[in-house]
């Protein structure tokens, strides 16, 4: 088999390819469910029900989607510029740490200022954290994949130190958690008696902003140009270094806001289980969306549904909820391959 570039890509293929990849992922994971000894259709039924079956289930799915939109955007924006930011997890915690620092009493503003302020602070922290590996990449050609990955561990250990040490809330009965965010900074709930909060609206808002920025602004154009062909972009007079730095601030900033979203919307205070790997899952979200900021909204809801559904499924039929991770990873790999078949035509010799 050999691959030939397509001269013309039919529109339907752009949608059919990733959708069939996701269908194939479900099919492959059915094998695992069968191996676990559960009826496949009933298991997928429980998954669907747990994800969308009731107002509460739907609200839980959307609650989980909010931080995934942020981390998915972070990955999408960076990958667009071929900046391999795998440090979303660390940037998320950096954002949450910074928001905890200013949001637990240091700064007091009325709610309509306090919430944007927290997002800004979180974004700054996340952006600055990514700036370090990116400067190393630009100045010394140090590979950013490894440095961003390693920084995840450093930031998490730093948070661990703060929560077991100076930031430990004496009122938390010995649990490692920081003092709560002041009331003015808490994201308001959207539906009564659910955990869904206005972080979702912020996430969608930033997704639209990111889309408009990438699509219509000069800087957004430069990001796309640098990602598609850095040599050509350089010849066209686009400042490579500055563009990559801007991308880094944007990408790290979005990941940092994911931390603020979870902190101010869901938990109310910083803990070490603030994120069950949202930073890493964001990569899958971005790839499933074809790195399109608006697509990120849909794919974040889809991935959140898988995780929530898998939780419900594991309660109903004792299948480990690590199945959600398997499904996400399988979908990620298959979508990656499917995108190739959009651009290339497989030909049998």
């Amino acid at each position: 088999m050999r691959l030939e570039p397509r001269s013309h890509v039919p529109l339907w293929l752009n949608f059919a390819a990733p959708l069939s990849a996701i269908a194939l992922a479900f099919l492959l994971c059915a094998l695992l469910i069968a191996w676990a000894g559960a009826p496949v259709l009933a298991a997928y039924g429980a998954l669907l029900n747990g994800a969308f079956g009731s107002v509460f289930a739907l609200s839980e799915t959307l609650t989980r989607a909010a931080p995934l939109i942020f981390t998915g955007l972070a990955a999408a924006v960076a990958f667009r510029a071929k900046l391999w930011n795998i440090g979303g997890e660390g940037q998320l915690y950096a954002g949450a740490l910074a928001a905890t620092y200013v949001g637990t009493g240091l700064v007091e503003l009325p709610p309509f200022l306090m919430i944007p302020f927290l997002f800004l602070v979180g974004a700054l922290a996340g952006g600055l954290l990514l700036l370090l590996p990116v400067i190393l990449k630009l100045k010394l050609r140090v590979d950013e994949v490894v440095t961003t990955l390693l920084l995840n561990f450093v930031v998490l250990l730093f948070a661990n130190y703060l929560l077991f040490g100076p930031w430990k809330d004496p009122l938390a009965m010995g649990w490692p958690q920081a003092a709560p965010i002041i009331d003015e900074g808490v994201l308001s709930p959207l539906i009564a008696r659910t955990r869904l909060h206005s972080g979702l609206i912020w996430a969608v808002f930033f997704a639209v902003c990111a889309w408009a920025f990438i699509r219509y602004s000069k800087w957004g154009f430069e990001i796309r140009a640098v990602g598609n062909n850095p040599t050509a972009a350089g010849f066209a007079g686009i400042p490579l270094g500055a563009t990559v730095l801007r991308t880094a601030l944007l990408s790290g900033g979005l990941a940092g806001m994911a931390g603020v979203c979870e902190l101010a919307g869901l938990k109310g205070y910083l803990t070490l289980d603030l994120s069950p790997g949202f930073g890493y899952t964001g990569i899958a979200v971005a790839m499933l969306a074809g790195l399109h900021p608006l697509g990120v909204i849909a794919s974040a809801i889809f991935i959140a549904a898988i995780y929530n559904g898998a939780d419900a499924m594991s309660r109903a039929m004792s299948i480990s909820n690590y199945l959600a991770d398997v499904m996400t990873a399988t979908a990620l790999l298959l979508v990656l391959a499917s995108v190739l078949f959009v651009r290339y035509q497989p030909r049998l010799r």
Binding site: R2, L3, L32, W35, A36, F79, W84, I86, L136, L140, R141, V142, D143, V145, V146, T147, L149, L150, L151, F153, V154, L157, F158, N160, Y161, F164, G165, Y280, I283, A284, M287, S318, I319, S320, Y322, L323, D325, V326, T328, A329, T330, L332, L333, L336, A337, V339, L340
Partner: protein, 313 residues
Amino acid sequence: MDILEIFVSLGFWAALVRMATPLIFGTLGELICERAGVLNLGIEGIMTMGAMVAWMWVYQGGDLWTAVLVAAVFGALFGLLHSGFSVYLGVSQHVTGIGITLLASALSYFAFRMLLPDVTTPPKIDPFKPYPIPGLSELPFLGEVLFTQSPLTYLAFFLVPVVGYGLYRTPLGLALRMVGENPMAVEAQGIDVHRLRTAAVMLGSAFMAVGGAFLTISVFDAFYIGMINGRGWICVALVIFASWRPGKALLGALLFAAFEALQIRVQQSASAFIPYQFFLMMPYVLSILAMIVMSRRAAYPKALLVPFRKGER
């Protein structure tokens, strides 16, 4: 305990050699992949998979050496999967690698949970015992440090010159290095680029999996979630630190193991002044520093990250 006291203690040096073992396996494995032009970021997940299957094999009543083999086979299979995407389809090696890591670790945890559904404390196995080499283990100091180790540690140290010899002194090694520098030249020699790269990634991944297996069936006697804990990523940094040379990879692994061994011992004595979390950060911070220090001299294989498609420039 004083720093000096640590340096003269036999236990420290023996721990150093022990802790270097998974890093040696992982770094050699990553090095083989990268020399062939494929960055294998699946390492973290492949190590997890190796750790899980080897442990599970022994737990189900299998033999220790067969467990090593099983881990290697599983590693090679994930290497095959990796190259299916990164070599044959030629899609992004970064995303493929992250995908493989997510998949391999998720599958490991899933299988572990499904095979042992109702255990709360991790069950234990009988791991490899230190095997004193007759004669050599009687040597003062060196005997205890180098020659009273797990058989897998001897294997790791033995593999360093083997990989070095294979890469630099055999026709296959020459072809493997060439496919990482100039795949077109390899193609011109009538060698199948895709097959050669796939073979390299499979071999490298087998090494990584054995490195993971060492943790569960030699150092510890149990498997638990998140036990690889970034060791795979450290190996990726070590390959850069080693400038893609097996000898230097050994040096780097030993250096890092020294810090790990030192960190545990200093932590116990100095934690009154410095919180232990900062000691735990050391390997990661050091990896970044090592990459910065070596960055000016980093001579990447020229075709690293570049997919090869026949007839395409």
